[in-house]
């Protein structure tokens, strides 16, 4: 009898854990705290090619963070580009336009001439090909 109730408890716990992880998977996940901090402090910025860049002096830590995110982004771009019948570069460039639009002050972004700019309340300077 005791064994059965223990089993039940385990099953409930397992189901609970699955439900929690399932929720975390479907709900739009938030930025990792280290990434959020690096963005807010302007150590990393949005490049116009759709990837993240290091703004100041690179550190191994920042490089790892940026690489990790960019690899994940590229995987997403590849899949979505394939579905949309576009190249990865085309899709990434489009995403870059939008990601730059979505920056908030005082995050950093790459201007049309490749320079790092701080986002202000004014609209960001973007590539002329960027959709409105």
């Amino acid at each position: 009898m005791k064994q059965i109730s223990m089993r039940k408890a385990w099953l409930v716990a397992a189901a609970g854990a699955m439900a929690i992880t399932g929720l975390a998977g479907t709900a739009y996940a938030q930025r990792d705290p280290a990434y959020a901090e690096a963005r807010a402090s302007g150590k990393v910025g949005e490049k116009m090619d759709g990837y993240l860049g290091i703004v100041g002096t690179p550190t191994p830590e920042l490089q790892r963070l940026v690489n990790d995110i960019n690899i994940k982004r590229k995987a997403v771009y590849s899949e979505k580009a394939r579905q949309a019948g576009a190249t990865i570069e085309e899709y990434a460039l489009t995403a870059g336009c939008i990601a730059i639009s979505k920056t908030v002050p005082p995050e950093m972004y790459q201007g049309p001439r490749g320079e790092w700019l701080e986002r202000t309340n004014a609209p960001p300077q973007r590539d002329s090909r960027c959709p409105a």
């Binding site: 930025r31 979505k80 949309a84 085309e90 489009t94 979505k102 001439r113 320079e115 002329s128």
Partner: protein, 86 residues
């Protein structure tokens, strides 16, 4: 005769090669300095200066704005779905 000194003397109509004097070794000896000096001369001509202006990035110049317009809505959704990496 002055006329003869105005220009360098012409080669003999019959080359040494025809006399069998221009062996491979001789030719190599003659060409070697030229071959060696070639890169040196070229290197002297190329001047690489650090640009004073930031390098202009002509990013994906072949991608047309129409493509971006077409993909915009899709990419917008993708960014929202993957908020953790954007």
């Amino acid at each position: 005769m002055n006329a003869a000194r105005l220009t360098t003397s012409a080669r003999a109509a019959i080359t040494r090669f025809m006399h069998g004097e221009n062996s491979g070794v001789r030719r190599a000896k003659r060409i070697l300095p030229l071959m060696l000096s070639g890169p040196v001369v070229l290197a002297g001509c190329i001047q690489v200066d650090a640009p004073s202006e930031p390098i202009v990035i002509e990013l994906n110049i072949n991608i047309q704005s129409e493509v971006l317009v077409r993909l915009a809505e899709d990419a917008e959704g993708t960014i929202e779905e993957n908020a953790d990496i954007f």
